[in-house]
């Protein structure tokens, strides 16, 4: 089964993503910040990481900076943030994120479609 890591600090959103994705054949892990995500990528290999940017403890750019030192070549990274432009987003893309989407524009159906598309692209 394809394994997905969702990195999101908002408890409700994390819960919603899990709920939306339970009906689908993906293995889902979640992390509430970049630090927790780093621990998980150390333990598991992910097909896809969905990454928020603005998070406490270690933000998305901080995660990418550390992750990019030893990235997994088979992992796709999609930034799903409510920042639609700016320095952080540019940095995230420069650090190896493959794609970014505005979180507020992504409905549950679009989230599933996005995940399917990225897993197929992988």
């Amino acid at each position: 089964m394809r394994r997905i890591l969702i990195v999101e600090d908002d408890d409700l959103l994390r819960e919603m993503y899990e709920l939306v994705l339970t009906a689908h054949p993906f293995l889902i892990d979640t992390a509430e910040n970049g630090k927790a995500a780093l621990e998980l990528v150390g333990q598991n290999t992910y097909d896809l990481i969905i990454l928020d940017l603005m998070m406490p403890v270690l933000d998305g750019v901080g995660f990418l900076r550390l992750y990019s030192q030893n990235p997994s070549p088979s992992t796709r990274i999609v930034v799903l943030s409510n920042l639609s432009s700016g320095h952080e987003l540019d940095q995230a893309m420069a650090l190896g994120a493959h794609r970014n989407e505005l979180k507020a524009n992504v409905s549950p159906k679009q989230l599933v479609a996005l995940i399917r598309y990225e897993l197929e692209a992988n």
Binding site: L12, L13, M16, S85, A104
Partner: protein, 391 residues
């Protein structure tokens, strides 16, 4: 008649008259201090202008050394002597600096010291002409200060603008966050992920979902307008199939248009390419199509035309809707203006769409024009160069 006898007294009389006229002239000039100094710098003559500029009377000053007009620092630095040396060597010296009046106050002086030599070339003294330029200096200083202040204000404005951009960006993020959670919860409920829901609840949840979507749209538009306003939008141009772009605009909105009981059609006889920012232009044209549908009644058709004119692609969006009155035409592209019409109470919007669209079209070097007849419909025509002007 002996000319020589009559000539000599005439000339000497004339010369004497000239000398007294010159003396009168110099003594009475008020705007310039003009006086004579001997080779050692001792003041020998004085005029009204000198008295006015420096405050000394003739009795005060005759026999004094001219360094009396210099500040103590200048005297200590040997400036008066240096100026005489240079004037002796080069014939003249000009200086602009502070000088001291009798009462100790200072004035900004333009000073010219000219060496005076007799026919044998011997130095007989110096002419010193001083102008009081305090007023001009004050104006120059004021101007410089005003300039500096302007520069400082400019830099403050720049940082304020940056702070504003940062604020708008962060505020958009913070506003989107709860709206995103609401969207996910409502969509999950509508998709019956929490269990089956009856039609009445479905309809209520759908209304809440749509309302939340409008809020997200307004936040997105506000941010886009803020970016276009602060000149932050950089077009990412690429050769783009305009037919395909227009098809995408139409397909994105077809469901909503059909739900309003309208039809939409792309009329294009040929493939046209232009070097444009697809994402931004798609949204700009999308706004026009969205407006065309929102301000048209059911049963009407919307037509999108694509043609070519003088190396420009021309995109026309034509509706048969409520139309725009002449007085409202003026407000059309203004920020936060929403045109009132019979349909506007049920038409949601931020009053920012057309303002933003026009800015994006203009960033492409293009134009947007509108023709409308109240009750008959509206036609927007967007004209975009196929190649950017600076290519």
């Amino acid at each position: 008649m002996d000319h020589r006898e009559t000539q000599t007294p005439y000339h000497s009389r004339h010369a004497a008259a000239d000398a007294s006229i010159y003396k009168l002239l110099i003594e009475n000039i008020q705007d310039y201090a003009i006086f004579f100094m001997d080779p050692g710098g001792i003041i020998r003559t004085w005029n009204k202008g000198a008295e006015r500029a420096k405050g000394y009377t003739e009795d005060d000053i005759i026999g004094k050394h001219f360094s009396i007009f210099y500040s103590q620092d200048d005297v200590d630095a040997g400036k008066p002597e240096r100026e005489l040396r240079i004037a002796t060597k080069l014939g003249r010296i000009e200086d602009e600096d502070w000088r001291i009046r009798k009462d100790g106050t200072r004035f900004w002086a333009n000073v010219v010291i000219t060496a005076l030599r007799n026919d044998a070339g011997e130095l007989v003294g110096f002419a010193k002409v001083t102008r009081n330029l305090t007023e001009r200096k004050r104006q120059e200083d004021d101007l410089r200060r005003a300039n500096n202040m302007l520069r400082q204000q400019q830099s403050e404005l720049r940082s304020l603008n940056e702070a504003k951009d940062e604020f708008v960006s962060l505020a958009s993020h913070q506003l989107r966050t709860p709206a995103t959670a609401v969207k996910m919860v409502l969509a999950s409920a509508l998709d019956e992920l929490y269990g089956e829901i009856d039609p009445e609840l479905h309809s209520a949840l759908k209304k809440a979902y749509d309302s939340n979507e409008r809020q997200i749209n307004i936040i997105n538009t506000l941010l886009r307008v803020a970016q276009v306003d602060s000149g932050k939008v950089v077009l990412r141009r690429a050769a783009t199939d305009i037919n395909a772009m227009l098809s995408e605009v139409i397909e994105e909105q077809r469901t909503a248009i059909n739900e309003r009981g309208q039809t939409i059609k792309l009329n294009s006889s040929r493939n046209l390419t232009a070097v444009i920012d697809r994402e931004n232009l798609l949204m700009a044209v999308g706004n026009l199509v969205d407006n065309a549908s929102k301000y048209s009644p059911a049963g009407t058709a919307i037509d999108v035309f694509l043609t070519k004119r003088n190396h420009h692609v021309v995109i026309t969006v034509q509706d048969h809707g409520v139309g725009i009155s002449p007085e409202n035409m003026k407000l059309l592209f203004k920020k936060f203006q929403r045109i009132q019409s019979e349909l506007s109470p049920r038409v949601p919007g931020s009053g920012l769409g057309l303002f933003w669209s026009k800015k994006i079209i203009e960033l492409h070097g293009g134009t947007i024009q509108v023709q409308s007849k109240l009750g008959k419909g509206t036609t927007f025509e967007v004209c975009i160069p196929q190649e950017p002007a600076d290519a």
